[in-house]
């Protein structure tokens, strides 16, 4: 867009004629790859006394020139020096492109103005450097190191990212502009993305990014793919890592080929394999994982239009701690009172039942057109196919059969239009349509956990930013979403009647089949969402951001339809057809200071959620297998408040101190305010980084992370009859584990430089002191400690 406007400007510029030796040569210095503006470039007219530097906007001008031919040399600290021949016979303007050195390319692509909308809310970044350092990790694990983020996990392999304690369908994950649809309603469903495909990750911690969705009342995690330069080049990277805990490793390789004409192609592959992980004192049996990813993009990137086809496939085979598979309350009692997991086997790479096999495939088409008259239009279509197989411990001929086999197909289209309107810093509007088809394979021989359903979504949105004076910018966003869901569900007749559904929803009843009844639940929701914010740039270094976001989320299939035993949690879960949408009202205030030595960000927030859907124990159910605790979904008005704080202090360029603290409190509204379940405990991280040329640019980072005990939790304990002792025993499923302190050490060492490429060796020691601890947000905390010390060695090379 900028480029186009600049060309128009050139045209206007050339209309005015100039006199001899009073000519002006002006222009803009841009980065060749992403059009970002380069300041502090030195522009010299060779063999003359004329020289100047480009300003913050990349602009420069040289006056009082005589007509003639000149050689121009442009030098920039991070770029190859380039010379241009120019002929000046009138006032002339030019856009001059420089190419970054490759090793700087990553940085530049990132800094290339990534945050043009959503300016009134804190957007946290993980840049390429951080990503490359930890690309062996899963998305949930990686982002949990950011302020205000944590993870809900089931063991070491299944990790869901949580923002301010909210997770699952309350978070929208966007990867390469595709909103990920991979059954995030489940508490033990990890997002199926490979962080190696991301070039940077942005996290927005409220519902304000309405261009993506209106129901992300927790926030957004946006994985941005690599931007591909328009020039003849081929480049790539390889990363190999191996680690002691799990005795495995990962390999990633990526290759990009692009041409001057705009055509490009990229191919990426990742392979991960780990065996059983171990806690400090014992093996965590059956926690291995195998994962592989294949991703490819091919496209054309022209000045005013572009087209891209992409396909990626992520496959994960994840073991679930063997000792976490239980058969009812009496097993739970024994497991909870055992200091060690009840099943500890020797190390193996084999992944046995219980386990998950999830394949997620995305095929997408993206295109854009831009022009000076209508602005920019983006069109997207994507098709996603998610197959989830969950294997349980079974008997007889069913032993090798999956207990859950769900296929979720999603078609999405999106059309966005961003015109340039005078007086607005941006305007973006668009609509999206989605179709879901969920099919549960009946051959599992297990009653469907999630019924077959079809779902249709339609959304329209508009976002705008408007500068107010010199220092303020106001933002507004509106969105309207319509959703329709039609399911076929076999209910237990007893539950259908117990819940009074026969009186409430007689129109859903299709056929009575003895103990079960076939029903046809159909629901529609219309949800408005909105956001308004203000960005106040006090001066160059200080910023205050204020944002109010209103979001609405429909109940997900699990919250509506759940009915039956959830094996991995050893409890019976019951949904409710009467649920209405959750409404979240979030206010966040941020103060940011970005100085040369000191960087500071303080972000308090307050979030009221009406009809928040929570899952909590409501009783005990007798079955032939013994007693199970019943957990029912319920709606309650709640509020969450907290603060995220991060600080970076550069004592000198070699020694940097980082500090990060997050606190969140969640209660049900009302005087007695019952605390919400699974709220992340407070966490403080301190780190020192030392990097010096004296040590060959070696980088050493020592990190201390302290997590407090969660002292505020609802009491969800229950009593169960233990036949062996003929007593009623308390089953304590609510008391959180204690506080813990972990030390991590990282050493990075640049190895050699091959042409424009760079190789780096990195050693990371996690849980350096081999501390035994349990994490409140890991559902395996009842049965086993977290993993112990891990030494990881990685080798990265880019070319």
């Amino acid at each position: 867009m900028q480029k186009l406007l600049w060309v128009s400007m050139l045209f206007i510029g050339t209309l005015s004629q100039a006199q001899t030796c009073e000519l002006i040569f002006s222009g803009i210095i841009e980065d060749q790859h992403d059009d970002s503006l380069l300041s502090q470039a030195l522009i010299t007219l060779v063999d003359t006394d004329y020289y100047t530097y480009s300003n913050e906007l990349g602009e420069f001008s040289i006056e009082n020139l005589c007509p003639g031919n000149y050689t121009l040399e442009v030098a920039h600290a991070q770029c190859k020096t380039r010379t241009f021949s120019i002929k000046i016979k009138e006032n002339t303007s030019k856009v001059l492109k420089l190419e970054h050195h490759y090793e700087k390319l990553n940085e530049i692509l990132l800094k290339g103005n990534p945050q043009r909308i959503n300016k009134s809310t804190v957007v946290d970044y993980l840049d390429q450097t951080r990503l490359a350092e930890k690309s062996d990790q899963s998305l949930g694990e990686l982002v949990s190191s950011m302020a205000g983020l944590s993870s809900m996990s089931t063991g070491k392999a299944i990790i869901k990212p949580a923002i301010h304690g909210l997770y699952g369908s309350r978070i929208t994950i966007v990867s390469g502009e595709v909103r990920l649809e991979d059954q995030q309603w489940g508490s033990e469903h990890a997002p199926n993305v490979d962080i190696n495909l991301a070039h940077s990750i942005e996290v927005i911690k409220n519902a304000s990014a309405l261009q993506y969705s209106g129901d992300a009342i927790g926030g957004f995690i946006v994985l941005k793919p690599q931007r591909i330069p328009v020039k003849d080049t081929i480049f790539g990277k390889t990363r190999i890592s191996g680690q002691t805990n799990g005795q495995g490793g990962s390999i990633h390789a990526g290759l990009v080929k692009s041409t001057e004409s705009g055509w490009y192609g990229a191919l990426n592959g990742t392979f991960k394999r780990y065996g059983d992980f171990n806690a400090p004192n014992y093996m965590l049996s059956n926690t291995g994982l195998a994962s592989n990813t294949l991703a490819t993009r091919i496209g054309l990137n022209k000045f005013n239009y572009g087209l891209e086809f992409s396909y990626n496939r992520v496959f994960n085979n994840l073991g679930i701690l063997r000792a976490a598979h239980l058969g009812g309350a009496q097993d739970q009692y024994v497991a909870l009172n055992s200091p060690e997991p009840l099943i500890i086997n020797d190390f193996t790479y084999e992944i046995d039942r219980p386990m998950q096999e999830v394949t997620h495939q995305i095929a997408s088409i993206k295109s854009f057109v831009k022009s000076a008259t209508f602005g920019r239009i983006d069109f997207r279509y994507d098709y996603q196919f998610n197959n989830r197989l969950e294997f349980d411990i079974r008997r007889g001929s069913d032993q090798n059969k999956a207990s859950l086999d769900l296929d979720l197909e999603t078609h999405s289209i999106g059309l966005d239009w961003a015109p340039q309107i005078t007086g607005l810093s941006y305007l973006k509007t668009g609509f999206s349509g989605r179709y879901f088809n969920n099919v549960s394979d009946p051959n599992t021989g297990v009653k469907r956990l999630i019924p077959d359903y079809k779902r249709y979504d339609l959304g329209v949105f508009a976002l705008a930013g408007k500068p107010v004076g010199e220092r303020f910018e106001a933002e507004f966003a509106l969105r309207l979403d319509y959703m329709n869901i039609k399911a076929f569900k076999y209910y237990y007749t007893a539950l259908w009647e117990e819940r009074n559904y026969d009186a409430l929803f007689p129109e859903f009843e299709l056929q009575s089949l003895g103990t079960q009844i076939l029903t046809r639940p159909v629901f529609s929701y219309l949800n408005p969402s909105a956001s308004a914010g203000l960005n106040w740039s006090i001066d160059q270094k200080n910023q205050v951001l204020l944002n109010f976001a209103l979001g609405a989320r429909n109940p997900n299939p699990s919250e509506l339809f759940s009915e039956g035993l959830h094996h991995s949690a050893s409890r019976i879960e019951i949904g409710d057809l009467q649920f209405e949408s959750e409404i979240s009202k979030n206010t966040s205030l941020s103060f940011k200071h970005s100085g040369a030595k000191l960087g500071l960000s303080i972000n308090p927030y307050l979030r009221f959620i009406d009809r928040f859907i929570l899952l909590e124990p409501t009783g005990i159910q007798q079955t032939i297998r013994g007693n199970f605790q019943v957990w029912s979904y319920r709606q309650a008005d709640v509020f969450l408040s907290g603060v995220d704080y991060s600080l970076r202090y550069a004592y000198n360029p070699e020694l940097i101190f980082d500090q990060q603290f997050s606190l969140v409190k969640g209660y049900e509204s009302g005087f007695d305010g019952t605390p919400l379940i699974n709220m992340p405990p407070a966490q403080l991280i301190n780190a020192i980084t030392y990097k010096s040329d004296r040590l060959n640019n070696m980088e050493i980072r020592l990190e201390s992370s302290y997590t407090w005990r969660q002292n505020e939790f609802p009491d969800t304990n229950f009593e169960a009859f233990i036949p062996e002792t003929q007593t009623l025993e308390l089953i304590d499923v609510s008391t959180p584990p204690g506080a813990y302190h972990l030390m991590n050490l990282e050493v990075g060492y640049p190895l050699l430089k091959l042409g424009n490429g760079l190789s780096k060796l990195r050693l990371r020691a996690e849980n350096l002191l081999n501390t035994s601890y349990r994490n409140y947000l890991n559902s395996n905390r009842y049965y086993a400690d977290e993993i112990g010390r891990n030494l990881l060695l990685s080798f990265t090379t880019s070319f």
């Binding site: 900028q2 406007l5 128009s8 400007m9 206007i12 906007l57 239980l326 058969g327 009812g328 009496q330 097993d331 024994v334 009840l342 000076a372 008259t373 209508f374 411990i393 008997r395 007889g396 069913d398 289209i413 059309l415 239009w417 015109p419 340039q420 309107i421 005078t422 668009g430 609509f431 349509g433 179709y435 009946p442 599992t444 021989g445 297990v446 009653k447 249709y456 329209v460 329709n484 039609k486 076929f488 076999y490 237990y492 007893a494 539950l495 003895g514 103990t515 079960q516 039956g564 019976i572 079955t623 032939i624 297998r625 013994g626 007693n627 199970f628 009859f721 036949p723 062996e724 003929q726």
Partner: protein
């Protein structure tokens, strides 16, 4: 950054902008509604998915006790036709045990959600090495039990057993089926470990 460009943009009139914009917006919305129409048009002729044959559910446990002397039969039965559904199992005991007697016991496990019912005890027997029944007395019941079957390794399974009574007593007898217990074990539930597949308590009177 945009001030310069914005000035430039003023040369393009708002009118021009909106003419082309409105057209594309209208086209866009047209597509959206066409899409919605297609979605809703093709959805109502759906046929319901088949009901799942629940292959693994154990709905019914029947313990048959035969008095060695008199041949008299007593049946202990627990039936839970909706499996994990909200209905509790129905527990029936056909009569009281006689003092100073020995009973031969056999256990039948059925899945009555399918017709004809599946004999789950056959699967348990076939995988005897991975299963074991445990008999736990409570509340003052005074009887003794002994396994009378073995798996492929010579360890008890517990689908067949003998039960001996002495003096009159009253209490509960709990049948617990464990999947993948430690075998051999000390005969106690805590010593065996594994997962509970069945846990049913019957009120028993010896008179």
């Amino acid at each position: 950054m945009n001030t310069k460009y914005n000035t430039l943009l003023k040369s393009i009139t708002m009118n021009e902008l909106f003419k082309s914009n409105m057209k594309s917006l209208a086209t866009g919305l047209g597509y959206a509604f066409a899409l919605l129409f297609i979605f809703s048009a093709c959805s109502d002729d759906d046929t319901p998915p088949t009901q799942v044959d629940e292959e693994e559910v154990i709905t019914t446990l029947i313990v048959s006790l035969t008095n060695n002397n008199t041949g008299e039969q007593i049946e202990l039965r627990s039936q839970d036709l909706d499996g994990d559904g909200p209905n509790a199992p129905v527990i029936q005991v056909s009569g009281n045990l006689t003092v100073a007697s020995t009973y031969n016991g056999t256990i039948q496990l059925l899945n009555e959600t399918v017709s004809p019912a599946d004999n789950i005890h056959e699967e348990v027997l076939a995988e005897g090495a991975e299963h074991q029944f445990f008999y736990t007395q409570g509340g003052g019941l005074n009887i003794s039990t002994q396994y009378s079957d073995v798996d492929s390794n010579g360890n008890p399974i517990g689908l067949a057993f003998t039960l001996a009574t002495t003096a009159p007593s009253q209490g509960t007898l709990t049948f617990t089926l464990r999947h993948e217990p430690l075998k051999p074990n000390d005969g106690s539930l805590s010593g065996a470990g594994g997962e509970t597949d069945i846990s049913v308590s019957f009120p028993i009177t010896v008179e």
